[in-house]
């Protein structure tokens, strides 16, 4: 029997791996979102609030959360892609989004508990270990299988998107918007589809997280902090490779746990400090992430060409 603690770690690795994978569906195509915390927050808070205040089963709550996330994704995504808001601007708009979400949660403190967070009311009465209707299980093994299923589903979606025409088109789009548009590919619609998928998956991740941890907090499930964590987790592992984000999740978690075991709680933010430093180094020296770089070294392929930011500019005679 695997002990509870290793199980807990594996569950977190798979769950965050799944969430990072969802993020990188967009990220690898140049749609770098700094706002996915909003979707996770929507997932987590919607189920908990509907359960606590209205007695909605988290299954129904999850559907509501997904609908909500879809609406937000379209509301923000459609105008963004229609008006060609890309790059820096897109990243900052999505950043605004995650902050709005976090602030709304805090502002509605009477309902949500504000910065203190909230806990879903327990459905495990009288020593029961499972309440499937309320999506609460005290046995970690059950959670392991649930999360594993989602993780695999996430990888399957990755594969599907990877293979479809849309991905090739988006590749062209992310590199040369003008040319792709002239070939008649409906840029905005393609981007929106990927955004929608990514948002829904992340939202589902939020639901699972809330039900597993049985505690939500605007800073742990929403806001720029968590959004950045997703970005970095995916980058560290390598967002162009299917298993990259999962490797990133494993790396982050194991780093945090390792440091905690070594130093106890004496240096509370040591793991984050090292993580931050490593991220900077990663992006400078290993922009493809751990897994990506490793795979490349193995295959000894030539590196994906990075276009020079600004050439000297003057046309030759």
């Amino acid at each position: 029997m695997i002990g509870n603690y290793p199980l807990h770690l594996m569950i977190l690795v798979l769950l965050w791996g799944y969430i990072y994978t969802s993020w990188s569906l967009m990220g690898r195509l140049g749609l770098v979102s700094f706002g996915h915390g909003a979707f996770m927050g929507i997932g987590a808070y919607t189920v908990v609030m509907l359960w606590n205040h209205f007695g909605w089963s988290p299954w129904a709550g999850a559907l509501a959360a997904l609908a909500f996330a879809a609406a937000v994704a379209i509301l923000i995504g459609y105008p963004c892609f229609r008006f060609r808001i890309v790059g820096h601007y897109f990243a900052l708009v999505t950043l605004a989004l995650s902050e709005v979400a976090r602030l709304v949660i805090v502002a509605l403190r009477d309902q949500t508990g504000g910065s203190l967070g909230a806990t879903p009311n327990s459905a495990l009465h009288g020593g029961a270990t499972a309440a499937p209707g309320a999506l609460q299980f005290s046995d970690k093994q059950v959670w392991f299988w649930i999360v594993l299923a989602f993780w695999l589903a996430g990888l399957w979606v990755w594969r599907a998107v990877d293979r479809s025409m849309a991905r090739l088109a988006l590749q062209a789009i992310s590199e040369e918007e003008e040319a792709a548009a002239s070939i008649g590919i409906h840029v905005a619609r393609a981007k929106l589809r990927i955004t929608l998928i990514s948002a829904l998956m992340t939202c589902a991740g939020g639901v699972l997280y809330a039900q597993y941890q049985l505690y939500v907090n605007p800073d742990t499930v929403c806001g720029i902090g968590i959004s950045l964590q997703m970005v970095f987790g995916a980058i560290a592992g390598g967002m162009f490779v299917m298993l990259g984000p999962t490797v990133g999740a494993a790396f982050t978690l194991l780093l945090a746990e390792g440091l905690r075991l070594a130093f106890g709680n004496r240096y509370p933010a040591l793991d984050s400090t090292l993580y931050g430093a490593m991220l900077v180094l990663f992006i400078i020296y290993m922009p493809k992430g751990i897994l990506g770089a490793a795979l490349e070294a193995l295959r000894a392929r030539t590196a994906r060409p990075i276009a020079p930011r600004k050439s000297s500019g003057m046309p030759s005679a």
Binding site: G30, V32, F34, I76, P79, C80, F83, R84, I85, G87, H88, Y89, A91, L92, V93, L95, A96, L97, E99, V100, L103, V104, V106, A107, G223, I224, G225, L228, V231, F232, I235, Y267, P268, A269, L270, S272, T273, Y275, G276, A277, L279, V280, F282, I283, I284, P287, I306, A307, P308, R309, K310, S312, G313, M314
Partner: protein, 288 residues
């Protein structure tokens, strides 16, 4: 509207004062972006470092307040240069997203390092300035001072940029970087100068903020996102645009916070930003 609400006026005026400070913060970001074409996502964290610098120099080492502040401005200017030389320069040739991400990494790092070094407690400067009453309205002197200094700082930058050779070069490089060497200007040196100036502006902002707010490692999250949104709304890289946008934003925050609850002011401001992005994606005075 039967009776003119004096407290609404107070909120509007407070918004004005806040706007001045936000305009100063956005100035540094816009300068960096205009010259180097990189967004320092960690800008607010640099400000946080400046705030800690003032705190430690004044409270722990008993430096006179003004000396501590002057030192903080220099310290953050140096941090800006270090950031540019060691973090930004290696990725200048890479995709723009990498540049955003690398400064995001620095954000993470600085917040964590600050927690490690200083702990999570809120630190207060221990300097209390009086409230100034104007009829039934009262204004914090700290805010007034911040507003005046911010305006002075911006005026100084404006004069520097428009009158001096270096200032003109800074404006020129954002319009045509490739031919700067033909003018005898080394782009690399201008980048360092801009980084130092951007850092100095952040340091100045830190001095003004630390008068009003307690410093703690996550304080960057309080005004960082706002500063970016102001810059984007004004047109990323446009200092004049950021100036205008700062005051507009501040009004939303102040009046919105007055009419509803505090956080709703921010929510309104952010929602307004998102709406603005759809109406004018390049920003008020943006060009790209």
């Amino acid at each position: 509207m039967e009776v003119f609400d004096i407290f609404l006026l107070e909120a509007i005026l407070n918004g004005l004062l806040l706007g001045g400070l936000l305009a100063l913060l956005s100035l540094g970001l816009n300068l960096i972006f205009g010259v180097i074409d990189v967004v320092w996502i960690c800008y607010a964290e640099l400000i946080m470092c400046g705030m800690y610098a003032v705190y430690y120099l004044h409270v722990q080492y008993h430096w006179p307040l003004l000396a501590a502040m002057a030192a903080a401005v220099v310290i953050v200017a140096v941090l800006g240069v270090i950031l540019h030389q060691f973090v930004i320069r290696p990725v200048l040739g890479a995709e723009p997203i990498n540049q955003l991400l690398v400064t995001g990494g620095v954000l993470f790092f600085l917040q964590a390092a600050a927690t490690l070094a200083f702990g999570i407690e809120f630190r207060n400067l221990g300097v209390t300035l009086p409230s100034i009453r104007l009829g039934e309205m009262s204004f914090s002197a700290a805010r007034l001072v911040a507003f005046c200094v911010a305006l002075a700082g911006m005026l100084g930058m404006y004069l520097f940029l428009s009158r001096s050779y270096l200032g003109t070069a800074i404006r020129a490089i954002s319009q045509d970087r490739a031919i700067m060497p033909l003018m005898g200007v080394s782009p690399a040196r201008i980048f360092v100068l801009a980084s130092a100036l951007g850092g100095a502006l952040a340091g100045l902002g830190a001095c003004l903020l630390v008068l009003q707010y307690d410093v703690h490692p996550a304080i960057g999250l309080s005004f960082g996102p706002i500063t970016f949104l102001i810059c984007v709304m004004g047109g990323l890289g446009s200092m004049a645009g950021g100036f205008i946008a700062a005051f507009v934003f501040a009004q939303f925050i102040s009046v919105g916070g007055f009419l509803f609850h505090l956080e709703w002011g921010y929510v309104l401001a952010f929602a307004f930003f998102i709406a603005m992005m759809f109406w004018r994606p390049q920003g008020i005075l943006g060009r790209r």
